[in-house]
Symmetry: C2
Subunit: 520 residues, 2 copies
């Protein structure tokens, strides 16, 4: 991050430096999108892209069918539901797309996949797939979430609706369609591919390192120029973000209980007894209260800022560009927020967004949670939290400091149940995968904003940190939304001239692979 880097292909415009992570980015950026002045024309890369595009168009029906079938074969890690079946199905898709070696990788959780495609090329590119999807509540969906229904969405075009449509099967299917198009056009792939897939992305990738660090996988990844996960993040103005890094999460629950504490009741008892019996709820409230400063947001866990690295001048420069090119008013409206922390101006607040670690309460559950009240003294209280870590904090450091902090203050009995997390990730602006993205986006006439650090998280650190130590990021054209929400969709045919559909997204990957082969 300290080496000089090429400036973005075009002045960073909107979307603003999005704080929303990959999982939920689309809803936000779509809302926040400003209008791009001059949308670019078509792709213009190496190789016979005309023949490949013709093949992609000819194979479109098959590609759509492939995505629909994939959505119809779900696996939900949070429910440990159909993981093996979903993994096997994904492996079949990889074989069909031309991967010569496709191996199932067992882990302590859901299995992953290791696959390679040797094109006899000089360079090798890494690809990261997730095959699991988020849970669904079918009653909230307009069409059954695993039916992959095709319909028209006014202002967007033809869409496929289904769980995983944008997160992440749609973009991944577009990538596979690119491989099919190469094959159908009789064109050799310009790079070799190493693909790793996991089935636990939606539960914060607790076993992904077991796949990535397996000796054969590690050796293969070491040959790569970098690794990307296919995505489709075009806003309504066609613009995309290139994220140079992301915060790392530490997801955990704090659970106070009479049982563990040895004080207070085991279960819920009559509330009047609080006159002689302690309350695990107050115990939890007091513990929580020590985690942030009096300002209500600055983490106050002992030693939390020891390894926090301030923003570099270049990072500040990028944020300034993003601040100037994006609308504070639109962001406030999108989030339903009247004021930023400390009433800071937009640019300062975006610096805060990128640079500050957080300790957030996602949820509180104790005692009676229905309407009105109920006279109980609860035996248990739970807070669901997540920290977002910035370089050079690590998940292990954060967890150890949290535990020590609580223990030191008499809250050692409170259970710290860590459910997931990983380190922050960073990729150099001058790495090939970043520069290749800039070149492809520029050729596609798409404004690509450089975001120094996503405030959200993705498990890029498993690649960017030792022992793998690869540049890693997201890449892709196209659009979809509704990740983690009802009616998740992916655009097949776009009626918005600034946004690509399935074939455009496919051709984006084609161009990216050519660019990765050619870039200096």
């Amino acid at each position: 991050m300290t080496s000089p880097a090429s400036p973005p292909a075009s002045p960073p415009a909107s979307p603003p430096a999005s704080p929303i992570d990959r999982r939920t980015l689309l809803a936000g950026t779509a809302t926040l999108a400003a209008v791009l002045a001059v949308p670019g024309p078509a792709f213009a890369a190496s190789g016979d892209t005309k023949a490949i595009r013709a093949a992609a168009e000819a194979g479109k029906a098959d590609s759509i069918k492939r995505l629909q079938d994939w959505i119809r074969h779900p696996g939900i890690a949070a429910e440990n539901w159909r993981m093996d079946e979903s993994c096997d199905y994904t492996m079949g898709l990889l074989k069909d797309a031309g991967f010569q070696m496709v191996t199932k990788m067992p882990t302590d959780g859901a299995p992953g996949i290791f696959a390679t495609l040797d094109a006899g090329a000089k360079r090798t590119v890494g690809i990261y797939f997730m095959y699991d999807v988020k849970q669904v509540n079918p009653t909230e969906w307009a069409t059954p979430p695993f039916d992959a229904v095709i319909s028209e969405k006014p202002g967007y075009g033809t869409i496929i609706t289904g769980r995983g449509a944008i997160n992440q099967k749609g973009p991944e299917a577009a990538f596979l369609a690119a491989l099919h198009a190469f094959k159908a056009a009789g064109e050799k792939l310009p790079v070799n591919l190493v693909l790793v897939a996991e089935g636990e992305e939606e539960i914060a990738s607790p076993h992904f390192h077991q796949i990535v660090q397996a000796p054969a996988v590690l050796a293969a990844l070491k040959e790569c120029e970098g690794i990307i996960i296919p995505s489709a993040w075009q806003a309504r103005n066609g613009g995309v973000e290139i994220n140079l890094g992301a915060k790392g999460p530490l997801e955990f629950q704090l659970i106070a209980s009479g049982e563990r504490w040895g004080r207070g009741p085991k279960g819920d008892i009559h509330s009047s007894l609080h006159a002689q019996v302690e309350s695990p709820v107050w115990h939890l409230v007091q513990a929580l209260n020590t985690l942030v400063a009096a300002d209500g947001h600055t983490p106050a866990i002992d030693g939390w800022f020891d390894n926090v690295r301030p923003l570099s001048p270049r990072e500040k420069q990028l944020i300034a560009l993003n601040a100037a090119a994006s609308s504070e008013a639109e962001a406030k409206a999108a989030y339903g927020v009247k004021a930023w922390i400390n009433d800071e101006p937009w640019q300062t607040s975006l610096e805060r967004l990128a640079s500050q670690p957080t300790v957030n309460i996602q949820g509180l559950v104790a005692g009676y949670t229905g309407p009105g009240g109920k006279t109980v003294l609860p035996g248990r209280a739970e807070a669901k939290l997540e920290c977002r870590l910035v370089p050079n904090q690590t998940k292990a450091e954060a967890e150890a400091k949290l535990r020590a902090h609580l223990a030191k203050r008499g809250f050692g009995d409170i259970e710290v149940r860590v459910t997931g997390g990983y380190d922050p990730t960073e990729t150099a602006e001058n790495s090939r995968i970043i520069r290749a993205q800039q070149a492809v986006y520029a050729r596609a006439g798409v404004t690509a904003t450089l975001n120094p650090r996503l405030a959200g998280s993705w498990p890029g650190s498993v690649f960017t940190q030792p022992p793998v130590s690869l540049p890693a990021g997201q890449f892709g054209l196209g659009h979809g939304a509704g990740a983690h929400a009802p009616n998740e969709y992916f655009v097949i045919d776009s009626t918005n001239p600034k946004v690509e559909g399935l074939v455009g997204s496919t051709m984006g990957f084609v161009d990216f692979l050519y660019e990765m082969a050619a870039i200096s």
Copy 2:
């Protein structure tokens, strides 16, 4: 409470000074009950109790049917469900039992009832009925909660299961059965009756004062010696408690929201945004944290103890007797508690239970409350609390102090939604209704423990405070349990020789009315 009083009819034995309020007392006392050495024989009051008992036995089938039908005509104030119908049904029961005047009393909430029975007697006794019942979750019940199914319960006898069976229709039906028995036996009632009923007891009696303080009602109550609510609290050893008072509750919710605060988000947004957006959840946690001292239980609301009156020597004496006669180990086992606050010994902890006001968190609800976590920054957080107030605190004082305390500390935006409450209540040990209870219990061979103050609450203060200013308490033999819980029941025929069934409960009221007429 300061005047000398007669000692309890027999040495206070178990159950221990119960902290459980009327609503849920039975489960607790049944569990805690110790064995009474010498159970007494039958009733021996004035009047022709033999004829009345014969009439009560003869009318038993009718009395059972009456209770079943009443349970089958429920009204649930918390759901504003069938309040008018339930009120009308109860009025019919009163007319049938001999009340000459039965008037519906509209309030700003559910209607109440004012009824009088003029027996041409010298003294008048007040009776308090509630006709509403607690909510039900039918899936938790062994038989439908409004079917009033009769069955055998091993160790107890024949029971009626249904919502309201013990809380409060069973005991109230036993009282009505007493009036029917007087009539059937051709015996004149020894006292006149003034009855007030409400349909909002289960939501903390928010409009009961509108009934009680209506001029005609107030005038009628002024003629009374005191007022009782029929109850049936015999423990397995036959023992009962006579409560000389109860704490008063202040039930409320504290709700922090971005909407009201003007900071933080309006709705739930992506958790990563906490780096630039404040959290209503932290805001609530910080507000809550100011409400109790560092010890985690002593109320820390400004001025909270200004009017708290310490225990009198007599109150301490009664607690000492109760402590000596009850089992600390059984209480700890019943509550699932290993240690009392401050690791205090039993007697000290019972003094604390009676004397200390509390601020209790009944429940916490914010953001994501399902299994695991979900990356949201919630727009709203709610804590459900209740304070228990002791003499001479008042509900109005407590509410005002709570609001001032929060406002002074920058939490004035947090909504304080008061849903119910009333002042603490006290009745003098030497009042006629207390001494009459002692006499009746003694004649029935029942150990009656004098409890200086229930840690729980009942709306006695509406009677004991101006403008009514009457002694008020609970009275009754018999047994049932499951108030506010599934499978609530009332014992019709007791197989436990120490505990009365429906007829015994009926005869307890007969004797009580005779005693109220005769007592000096």
